[in-house]
Amino acid sequence: MSMEIERDQLLVQKYIDRDVTPEELVEVESRLKTEPELQKMHNEYKNLPAGIRYHVLTAKLEQLRALEKALPPVEMEAPVVRMYKNPMVWLATAAVLAIAAISFVLFSGSSNDELYAENFEPYPNVFEPTQRGENTTNKRATAFAMYEQGNYERAAAMFGEILNEKKEPEILLLLGNSNMMLNRVDEAKNNFLTLISDFDALDEQAKWYLSLCYLKSGDREKAKFIWEELGDPKITYSNKANRLLQDVK
């Protein structure tokens, strides 16, 4: 092997290790733009360090899998519905249920409000759960805590402020749910539509709640269109969506 090739190998290795002198850095970067041979060499070296780390981590993953096999199975906990900590939410929920019951007695068939009341429950804050005894001082943590406590008015205001700084799918989902709890259906629709159009994450959840907004505002056709999509058995909401499709037939 020629001395030049050996020098280049050493230089490229030092470059990927970020161990070059300022002069060597200028040399490598300018030559990488013009010399295909050096580019090829660089491409061949550049993933080796990550591959070595991956090798070690794969071994660690195997150890964890062996450990998992030796442990007792994880029991699924019953979900905790935190909103009921707030007595106002109890009252609001009781009122909704009472209205649903009266509607059931008075009208034959299922009304939109009835179906809505049967199917809507606010999405739990599984994103940044408040720790027991945690003192929430920052805006974000407070917003999540307000949501958990059923203070949707404050939660919505704070989620709105957070969104003004940066759009995030979780915040949009919980803001939409807060707006639904506050009966601001049009605002909730906008939240879910933004979530669907701007993010891939939480897509099914956004579609489910959007369909309930349409139901609430009397637009059954749009709601049905979404339930047909969510009715695919691979999707988590398929049972609920198919049941609603049956109910509105």
Partner: protein
């Protein structure tokens, strides 16, 4: 010396135990948060138990990597919040990449964590998998030396002392030769897996 009971350790003490390379530290962390994490991620991602376990294993491995490469030397939050934060990112990545019918694979998320660009991971047999297979065959001293340098991020002085080289310069020369050997092994395998 009295050995400290792990159940009484603070998060920082647990972190230091993992940093020290004691494998019981990572196993303890795994068991400590397993039930809570798996229950949480099943609700968060609406996935089944197998997928939840894959997420958890990927989370623990990524946590381990961050500890070992020095990215996580001190916790800014509780260890539980840190692990759940990793999990949240994994779920968001998974939702962006796949149809919901795809099963979660911990290896994919570990590769995502390591790769510079997602483009590099498009093929099943990508560079990371290829290097991983070749590195398995490289043998010592190269295996040990490269792992100490690239995973444990040890200096040439430390490697030289640990592996008994005459001086750091000798260890550095050996490392250069080992990298060249690994590169040749990988390039020797590549034509069999890449069709252009």
């Amino acid at each position: 010396m009295q050995v400290m009971d792990k159940t009484e350790m603070t998060d920082s003490e647990l972190l230091r135990l993992v940093q020290s390379g004691d494998p019981s530290g990572l196993s303890f962390v795994y068991e400590k948060y397993r039930k809570e994490y798996i229950n949480w991620i099943r609700r968060f991602s609406r996935c089944d138990h197998d997928d939840a376990t894959e997420y958890y294993q990927a989370t623990i491995v990524i946590f381990y990597e961050n500890v070992m490469n020095g990215k996580l030397s001190q916790l800014q939050s509780s260890l539980k919040t840190y692990l759940f934060g990793i999990g949240k990112n994994l779920v968001l990545h998974e939702h962006r990449r796949s149809q919901r019918s795809t099963k979660v694979k911990a290896e994919f998320h570990v590769q995502m964590h390591l790769a510079d660009t997602q483009q590099e991971l498009l093929s099943e047999e990508n560079d990371l998998s290829l290097v991983h297979r070749c590195f398995e065959r490289i043998g010592d001293p190269c295996h040990k030396l490269l792992q100490l340098f690239y995973f444990n991020e040890k200096s040439m002085e430390e490697i030289s002392a640990e592996l008994g080289y005459k001086n750091p310069e000798t260890a550095k020369n050996q490392k250069y030769k080992c990298m060249e050997r690994l590169r040749k092994l990988v390039e020797g395998e590549r034509p069999m897996v890449t069709t252009e």
